[in-house]
Assembly symmetry: C2
C-alpha cells in the first residue's frame, strides 16, 4: 500500500472508531488502560528487545548520544509508563460532564456537556513514552489517536502499539482508537496534515523547526508547543533568599526544558545588594551570564559574564546561560517580558500584593507566577494528572494541556415544547 | 499606500492597541460602548445618508434585491444597534475572572484567569450591523479588532467606524482597538490572512464559499461558521402536538437561517398516525417535502411531496423544503444525523428520559436539544447577551460564541517561595 493510502486508511479507521470511543463508559476505558499497563509489565523484555534494535541502529547511524539517551528504555522507564497508565485510569472521566447550567426566562434549561474532540494526530520525536502517554490521555478523553513517532524508534513504537491494541481488544474497544503510522516514510506526516475531514487536531511535540513546519503545512488545527523564553522579575520588595532560590531552581534544576529560566529582570532598588551574590552563585553552578550595562557594572566580582546583545533578550538558551537586565520597576519588567518573551511562563518574586496583581494581570503568558519557580509549569504539577503537551497557542488551550484540553463543549438545551416567537 | 502596507499597518496598530485594551477597566470599556451608542443615536442622519449612497450604488450595480434589503439601514435598525451596544455594556466583564482555583499539596495555589485573545480579524458580508456588534463584543472582551466588511457597504461602514473611533477616544482608549480596512480592494483579505504575527483569530461571517476560501488560505486560526443541516427526530413517545409545533416552528418561522430545520426523522411507531397530519400542515405553510420511500407511502394525501435522493439527506435547503425519513428508532436517528448532518443543531421530541439522554450524549452536534425548536440555537437565546457568530468548529468554541469565546484562559500560580525538587 502506498503511504498516502495508508494514512487515508488510518484516518478513516480513526474516524469510525472515534464514535465508539466517545460512547465508551468510564469503566471500559479504565479497563483498557489497566489491561495495557498489565501487558506492559508482563512484556517488558519484549519491549526492551525491540528498543535495543532501535538503539543499535541509531548508534550505527551515528545519532547524537543525547538523542540515543532519550530513546533508550530500561525497566524503570517502562515501569514509569505503567504508572502513567494507572494514573490516567484514576483521573476523573471528563466526557459527559455538565457545566454552567442555567434556566432561561422561557423555561429552557441551557448547559454544556464535555465531549471528546474526535480524532487527534500526534506527531513526536524520539521519546517512546509519548506513545503510551498520548494513547492513554486520548483514550480516556474518548478520542481516537493516530501516532506518528520518530522513525528512529519505530520498532519500539510498533511493539508498544501492538500491546495497546491487545489492551483495547480485551476491553472490547476497537483497535482503531490507537493506531501507529506503520511506515517511517517522511511523506507520511505531509499526508496526515491533509486529512482535515477525518482528523480534528494535530499535536506536534519536538523541536521548533518541526513544529513550525507542521503548523505552516497543516490543513488541520495545530496545538503548538513552541519555545519557552521564561523570565523571573525580582521586585524591590522581594525576599532576597527566596529570590535566589527561585532563580537557581529555575536555571539549574534542569536547563534543557521549556520551563527553565532564561532571563532575569532585577528591580534597580535591590540590584546593587542582591545581584553580585546571585551572580556568583549562578557562576558557581556553572551558569554563564549575559548582562545589560547596568548589571555588568554590578557584577564586577563575577567571572563568567559578558555583555548582552539585543538578540539575547529573545533567546531560549536551553542550556547553562542566563540573561540579566536591571529594570526600573514592574512596568518596565512587564513591557520587557511582553516584548521579548515567548508568552510561556514568567514569575515575579515580590512581597507586594499590588505588584503581584499587576504582573499576573498584565503579563501575557500562558503561566504567570508569584513567588514560585517557573519549573512548576507542568501538567502534573498543576494537578492535571498528566499532560499531552504545553500549548503556546492562545486558542482552545493555553499552557499545560491535560484531559480537559482534549475535549470540547457542546450546548445542551432541554425544554417542554418551547418554540421561538 | 499599497494594500499590503495598509493591512500590515492596521495589524501592527491593532497589536499595540490590544495591550491597552487588555488592561482597560470595565468602566472604561463601558464608557466607550455608551459613548458610541450616544453618538450613533445623535448621528442617525449621517449614517443613513452614507448608507443611501451605498444602496444607490448597489442598485445601479444590479445587486440582488435580498442583498440590498440586508444592507439597507433605517432608523429602527440603527436603534437596534444602539440597543446592542447598551446590552453589551451591561454584560459582565469576562476579563480577569478567576476560575478553577485549587491548592496543591506543596501549597501552590493554582487557578486560571480569563484574558482577551488579542487581535481579532472579522471578515463579513453586507449587514452593516455586524460592524457595530463585532466592535462592541471584541472591545468588551479586551481585544482589538480589524473589520473587513462587504465592499458594497463601505461608506456605511466608514461612517460607523469614524463614530466608533470617536467613542473610543472619549473614553481615552486607542482608536487602534477598532479599525476598518479602508479599501475595497479584494487583495486586502488575502493580506489580512497572512498577518499571523499580529492577528490571533479570524472570524468570517458569510456564505459557505467565502468561509471555505478563508479557512483554506489563512495562516491564522479561523473560527468557522459553516452550514446548518438541522434535524428533528420525533420519537415514538413524542407528544404529537408538541412535535408538530416544534417542526413547524423550526421550518417555517424563518427558513433562510442556519438554525432552521432541514430534515425530519420520524419513529416508525408513530409515523402512520402523525406523518400525514404534519405533511399537510407543512404543505399548507408552503413547504415542499422530499420523502423516503416509507414516508412517501404515508403521505398519500399530501400534494407537494417527491422522493428524496441520497443528496437530500445532506442538503441545507435554506428555504421552504424539508426532507423526511422514517427510522426504526433512536439508534437509526442518531446514526443518520451523525452521518448526514453538519453537526450544527438537532432536537429530539420525546417523553422518554432514556431516549433524550442517548440523543444528547451521542449526537455529535454543537447544540443538542430535547423538546425545543432548533431555532433557539442562538447566543441571545442561550443567555450570552449577544453573539459574534456560531462556530461549527470543534476547537476553542463550539456553537454560539459570545464574550467568553472571545477570551482565553491563562494559568495563575501563587506560592510562598516554592521551588521544584
Amino acid at each position: 500500500m502506498d503511504v498516502k493510502e495508508h494514512i487515508e486508511s488510518l484516518a478513516m479507521q480513526a474516524r469510525s472508531s472515534s464514535a465508539v470511543g466517545s460512547r465508551a463508559t468510564t469503566h471500559q476505558k479504565n479497563d483498557a488502560l489497566e489491561a495495557i499497563a498489565q501487558l506492559l509489565s508482563e512484556q517488558v523484555d519484549r519491549i526492551l528487545a525491540a528498543n535495543a534494535i532501535d538503539c543499535d541502529r541509531a548508534r550505527s547511524n551515528g545519532l547524537e548520544p543525547p538523542l540515543i539517551e532519550r530513546m533508550t528504555l530500561d525497566s524503570d522507564r517502562v515501569s514509569a509508563m505503567c504508572e502513567g497508565l494507572t494514573q490516567v485510569a484514576a483521573l476523573e472521566d471528563p466526557v459527559g460532564a455538565i457545566v454552567d447550567e442555567t434556566r432561561r426566562p422561557n423555561g429552557l434549561l441551557i448547559s454544556r456537556m464535555r465531549t471528546p474532540i474526535g480524532v487527534i494526530g500526534m506527531i513526536y520525536e524520539s521519546r517512546p513514552n509519548v506513545t503510551v502517554d498520548a494513547a492513554a490521555l486520548c483514550l480516556k478523553a474518548g478520542n481516537a489517536v493516530i501516532l506518528r513517532g520518530g522513525s528512529e524508534s519505530i520498532k519500539t513504537n510498533q511493539a508498544l502499539a501492538a500491546l495497546i491494541a491487545n489492551g483495547l481488544e480485551s476491553a472490547s474497544l476497537p483497535k482503531g482508537l490507537v493506531q501507529l503510522v506503520g511506515t517511517t516514510d517522511r511523506d507520511a506526516v505531509g499526508h496526515l496534515l491533509q486529512q482535515a475531514r477525518d482528523v480534528d487536531l494535530i499535536i506536534p511535540r519536538g523541536g521548533k523547526s518541526l513544529i513550525e513546519r507542521i503548523a505552516s503545512e497543516s490543513k488541520i488545527p495545530v496545538l503548538k508547543h513552541l519555545d519557552g523564553n521564561c523570565h523571573a522579575f525580582i521586585d524591590a520588595s522581594a525576599d532576597p533568599e527566596m529570590a535566589s532560590a527561585i532563580v537557581l531552581n529555575g536555571k539549574t534544576q534542569r536547563n534543557s526544558v521549556c520551563n527553565a529560566l532564561e532571563s532575569l529582570l532585577v528591580h534597580e532598588a535591590i540590584a546593587s545588594d542582591w545581584l553580585p551574590n546571585i551572580g556568583r552563585r549562578l557562576n558557581d553552578a556553572g551558569v554563564e551570564i549575559r548582562a545589560c550595562e547596568r548589571a555588568m557594572g554590578l557584577l564586577g566580582g563575577v567571572e563568567r559574564v559578558v555583555g548582552a546583545t539585543e538578540a539575547d533578550w529573545s533567546t531560549e538558551y536551553l542550556g547553562p546561560i542566563i540573561s540579566i537586565r536591571v529594570v526600573s520597576g514592574v512596568d518596565e519588567a512587564i513591557s520587557h517580558i511582553n516584548r521579548y518573551g515567548s508568552h510561556h511562563t514568567e514569575t515575579i518574586v515580590t512581597a507586594e500584593e499590588a505588584s503581584a496583581n499587576r504582573f499576573i494581570r498584565e503579563v501575557d503568558s500562558s503561566s504567570v507566577m508569584v513567588n514560585a519557580s517557573t519549573r512548576f509549569a507542568d501538567g502534573f504539577e498543576y494537578g492535571l494528572g498528566a499532560e499531552i503537551g504545553i500549548s503556546t497557542d492562545r486558542l482552545h488551550a493555553r499552557g499545560p494541556v491535560g484531559l480537559e484540553g482534549l475535549t470540547t463543549l457542546k450546548w445542551v438545551v432541554r425544554g417542554e415544547g418551547q418554540i421561538r416567537g
